[in-house]
């Protein structure tokens, strides 16, 4: 696995080497590291535990079987998956460009690609409105030429989620590409393969675990997207109201419903991260 270059996100998801059974836990861990480490763990887990403690367990079945919840959940899953697919389609080639070619201003391009990682999602939403809104610099042409407007549509949700989630895929794949040995591709090209064939037949299988890890991260990020979605795509049940939006609006009037919805999102996220980690991340 390591020789295949599973860096960064791939290793994070893999959880590192497994501990063997029978070994004494935490033996030889210095106390100055153990105490803050446990504090850190408690800090991250406590809010999730609180959610479980405060959950309206008695009314949970009714809360969760309402049509709106399933509508929001289904929309969330569909949009996050579509955003991940779109990210793969344009993000993997972008990662390849950043890792395997040399062009002036590549450092700047890299910085711009990762910008949505640190940008407040609401700012991303505003920027998307300025670019792709009905009155946006590109959006006004989409509207007048093709009659396409993205705000307030499901496609708008996918665009907003892709904008926020794709950088996770790109940096993950780029890291994997940099760690992968380029000599395999060179060997393929000297044997007569074109560069695209070499990419398709040699590079892609080589970096598959990194792509899978990046895709999972992007999918999870897209699933939780709130700020850019509500700013760019608005909030309409069944069309643009994803789970995070439903949670936020439920909190305004019915905190119990908001907690119930949060539990669903939490369960889905954990299931996906845990399930995919074992199935696809541990290729070797």
């Amino acid at each position: 696995m390591t020789s295949l270059g599973g860096t960064g996100a791939a290793d994070t998801l893999k959880g590192g080497p497994r501990r063997r059974r029978g070994r004494q836990p935490f033996k030889g861990v210095p106390l100055p590291l153990l105490i803050p480490a446990l504090l850190g763990l408690a800090f991250l887990i406590l809010p999730l535990v609180a959610l479980l403690v405060r959950a309206p367990w008695s009314t949970l079945p009714e809360q969760l079987t309402s049509a709106e919840v399933w509508q929001a959940l289904r929309l969330s899953l569909v949009c996050a998956t579509a955003a991940t697919a779109l990210s793969l389609l344009i993000g993997v080639p972008l990662a390849w460009l950043l890792a395997r070619t040399d062009f002036p201003g590549r450092g700047l391009v890299r910085a711009l690609v990762t910008l949505p990682l640190v940008l407040p999602p609401v700012v991303g939403g505003v920027a998307l409105l300025m670019a792709l809104g009905r009155n946006g610099i590109v959006g006004q042409w989409l509207d007048s030429w093709f009659g396409v407007t993205l705000p307030f549509t499901t496609a708008g949700v996918i665009v907003a989620e892709t904008f926020v989630a794709m950088p996770f895929l790109v940096i993950s794949v780029e890291g994997t590409l940099r760690a992968a040995d380029p000599r395999y591709e060179e060997a393929a090209t000297t044997l007569g393969a074109s560069r695209f064939t070499a990419f398709r037949r040699v590079t892609l299988p080589l970096i598959a675990p990194g792509i899978a890890a990046g895709a999972v991260l992007a999918w999870a990020r897209a699933l939780g997207e709130f700020g850019a979605t509500i700013t760019f795509a608005g909030n309409f049940p069944g069309r643009t109201q994803t789970m995070p939006l439903a949670v936020y609006l439920a909190l305004q009037s019915d905190p119990a419903a908001a907690i119930a919805l949060s539990l669903v999102l939490l369960a889905v996220s954990i299931a996906v991260l845990a399930g995919l980690r074992d199935r696809w991340m541990t290729a070797s």
Binding site: L31, P32, I35, G133, F152, Q252
Partner: protein, 275 residues
């Protein structure tokens, strides 16, 4: 260095680190308790003393422009005071208050949201209605779609934005539509009145049902259209002194200013109706 000396030294360092961690945690928890401490000392002050110090006002987003003006007037009239505002959706503000936010005054955009606070026993006395607000249709400048009534909004092809029914402006819009016997499918239910208006300001939507005061505050970026059904959906704005107000004296004085003739002048200038 002997082994035992080294060991004591290491233990001491460990303890010191653990101590620092514990101190950091204590500091974090202290933040939440300090509010109630200062609240206790503040409420004991009698109402007759001169207002001083900071007044913390939680107010509905639609009050932003007029309350900011009133805050400046208050600071000028009472040197040594400072008015700080937290503007937001009334529901969100009510939730913060019932969860222990150390505020002095709450001004809500609907009796329903004020009721959240009074039901939790967090307000003193009966909240007073100090202004009322009426809905208006916000359209693009020049009204290119020739919208003249609420019914026009139900026609297909128009992108209309409403507030979510959970927030006061959305509840009022629904009431007005019901009064007119109209059904309207918007493109989006926004989370507060300002974001609904913004969608029109950015020309992403053709119209929004918002408050008259918001149309006025937006200046020439939108155009307002009155509609008769809005008379059936007028929102009362209640204001109340909060029970755990850290600065009750100054808070009372601020509420007095809001309800005074001077305060009403500022509010009606912003488009609010007299109660």
């Amino acid at each position: 260095m002997t082994r035992s000396a080294r060991r004591t030294r290491r233990t001491r360092r460990t303890l010191r680190l653990a101590g620092a961690g514990a101190a950091a945690l204590l500091a974090l928890t202290a933040c939440s308790s300090s509010d109630s401490d200062s609240a206790d000392s503040g409420t004991s002050a009698s109402g007759s003393t001169k207002p001083s110090g900071t007044v913390n006002v939680f107010a509905a987003a639609s009050l932003k422009e007029s309350f900011t003006t009133l805050g400046k007037e208050f600071e000028e009239a009472h040197p040594g005071t400072e008015v700080t505002f937290n503007f937001g959706g009334s529901d969100t503000l009510a939730a913060s208050i019932t969860n222990g936010a150390g505020a002095d005054v709450f001004a809500a955009a609907s009796p329903k949201t004020m009721k959240i606070v009074t039901d939790a026993g967090d307000a003193t006395g009966t909240p007073a209605t100090f202004v009322r607000n009426q809905l208006e249709i916000a359209t693009l400048p020049g009204n290119p779609d020739n919208i003249s009534s609420l019914k026009d909004l139900t026609e297909s092809g128009l992108k209309v934005v409403l507030c979510d029914a959970e927030v006061p402006c959305g509840a009022a819009a629904r009431k007005a539509l019901d009064a007119g016997g109209l059904a309207l499918t918007p493109v989006s239910y926004e989370q507060d009145v300002k974001s609904a208006l913004t969608k029109v300001e950015l020309k992403e939507a053709d119209a929004a049902v918002v408050y008259r005061t918001d149309v006025k505050a937006a200046g020439d970026k939108v155009e307002g259209v009155d509609f008769p059904e809005s008379a059936d959906a007028i929102n009362d704005y209640p204001i109340a002194l909060l029970k755990d107000a850290p600065n009750a004296t100054a808070a009372k004085a601020f509420i007095e200013l809001v309800r005074s003739a001077e305060g009403q002048k500022v509010l009606t200038a912003a488009g609010f109706l007299k109660p």
